[in-house]
Amino acid sequence: MEASWIIETEELTKKYDGFTAVDHLTLQIREGEIFGFLGPNGAGKTTSLLMFLGLTEPSGGKVRVCGHDPARDPLRVKESVGYLPENVGFYDDMTPRENLRYIARLNRIPDRISSKKIEDLLQLVGLTEEATKKVGTYSKGMRQRLGIAEVLVKEPKLVFLDEPTIGLDPDGTNRMLDLIQSLSKEKNITVFFSSHLLEQVQRICDRVGIMIKGSLVAVGPIQELAKAKLGVDKENYTLEEIYMKYFKEV
């Protein structure tokens, strides 16, 4: 049972001079699932992600990602985890291929292997035609798609996507969500999807966790949360209703 958890945290806490950003977070993520991580702005979602990646040290508690402790062994974690930050940045005066190759080199992937992979990834995110342009000329949607490609260069087991659809047009959003779903289904990549756009989360996520003011108030499949909060009978629930209920309780 234990082995199938790709992320495991126990009483994970992060304090910034007196202010508790993440408060005793206990959470398990299964391998291959799409987990939606919800919460209002400033709820501690990004801080949790940074602790999972070993980019910031927890003040207390335990965390294991892909079987490693990110605080002690960040390199091992970063080898198998991709992170797409909110508003990802690129080297604007380089082409997407050059951007991807740089990331591949940092991941110790030799050029002869990465060049094939880079073409495949550009194909996957639909940027092959624009691949000769400099990234500086790219639109928001294209940048986000390139960001996904960049995360996938290292062939991760787990990806953290922090608000990947923010600022995209409806069509771009749909394509992005389809892409994320296909990652999980076809490549068996665990997707940790942090967002506050509830209908999107409802559409693609297997399970969700709701984080408010640093503590995880609910976690489980959406249906179960609906049962618990809205009553068994209700059919046409939305995640928003559930979320608002939790939100008001806090």
């Binding site: 801080t47 910031t56 390199l75 091992r76 990331i103």
Partner: protein
């Protein structure tokens, strides 16, 4: 090590294709060529008829010609090269949000700052070595003097000291690029420090020396020579706080074998001066080195210290602010 090499390679590619590298090299090559040709022709006139001139080749770097010598130029504007190369090295990545991406790759965080510093030092070394070679190359036909082994050694030491000196300023500017988020702020802060240490320290040294060791006015214009010497010593010690003074004292001793001391003030009467100049002979290389060893050690120390502070600040920065 892998991370450092990858970032180093990318940064070098960036530098070589950047306008700023072109501009710096063009500027410094221009200055070098102008100074070398002016001084070179003047030297040729001077040495006409001398059977075997020795230790004249280094004059290419130290003779002031009409404006300034190359060594003076480098001491004065060299820091700007370091600042230009480093002022946006970290915060540019922060502004374009690529830093958070870099740190989430499987590399140690310090390889980012190490690679940035190494790139700067490599670029500085490339620029300086090529310009010294250019001046040497131009100087050979212009003056008709072939440098001896000792002169070449002196040049090599001069190069090492210059690279260290400019690397110190590179370190200062990288430090500010770690501290400040805006590239304009970090550029201005580095310039402010440069101006402070290059101009105000030597100005302030005079005032401080007068306060610490005043030269008491005695009867009608008479001063106690011992007090003057003390005052000059204090002033010299304080102005050594400026890396520029440190560097120029060290390099002028290395490049000019006739100089036997780093202090500029030697009290002597006219007769002593005549007798000294009659027996003047160049200082051997090892003796020159012995004089400047403290300067060199200090240069290394402040460069390392500056980089160390920079490293520590970068490593301790919360990733949220990155």
């Amino acid at each position: 090590m892998h991370g450092i090499l990858t970032i180093f390679r990318k940064e070098m590619e960036d530098q070589f294709s950047s306008t700023r590298f072109l501009l710096i090299s063009a500027l410094i090559v221009m200055v070098g060529v102008i100074v070398a040709s002016m001084v070179g022709m003047a030297i040729k006139e001077e040495v006409r008829g001398l059977p075997k001139p020795t230790l004249l080749f280094l004059l290419l770097f130290t003779a002031t010609g009409k404006f300034f010598s190359f060594a003076q130029f480098l001491g004065f504007f060299g820091p700007l090269i370091g600042i230009i190369l480093g002022f946006d090295s970290i915060n540019r990545e922060r502004v374009s949000r690529t830093l958070s991406k870099l740190v989430s790759q499987p590399i140690y965080r310090d390889s980012i700052i190490n690679a940035k510093f190494l790139t700067g030092v490599a670029i500085i070394a490339i620029i300086l070595v090529s310009i010294v070679l250019i001046i040497t190359g131009l100087g050979l036909p212009l003056t008709g003097i072939v440098p001896g082994a000792e002169e070449l050694w002196r040049l090599a030491i001069y190069l090492v000291m210059s690279i260290l000196y400019i690397s110190f300023w590179l370190g200062v500017s990288i430090l500010f690029s770690v501290i400040f988020r805006s590239t304009a702020t970090s550029a201005l802060a580095s310039l402010a420090v440069w101006i402070f240490f290059s101009f105000f320290v030597s100005l302030g040294a005079g005032f401080l020396a007068d306060a610490i060791a005043p030269i008491g006015q005695q009867a009608a214009g008479m001063v106690d020579p011992q007090l003057v010497v003390k005052n000059a010593k204090v002033q010299g010690a304080i102005s050594l706080f400026s890396p520029m003074t440190l560097y120029s004292e060290a390099t002028s001793t290395i490049l000019d074998p006739m100089r036997k001391t780093t202090s500029s003030l030697i009290l002597m009467g006219p007769l002593e001066r005549i007798s000294l100049s009659r027996f003047q002979s160049p200082l051997p290389l090892l003796q020159s080195l012995a004089i400047v060893t403290p300067h060199m050690v200090t240069l290394v120390a402040i460069t390392l210290l500056c980089f160390g502070v920079c490293y520590a600040v970068f490593m301790r920065q919360e990733i949220r602010t990155i």
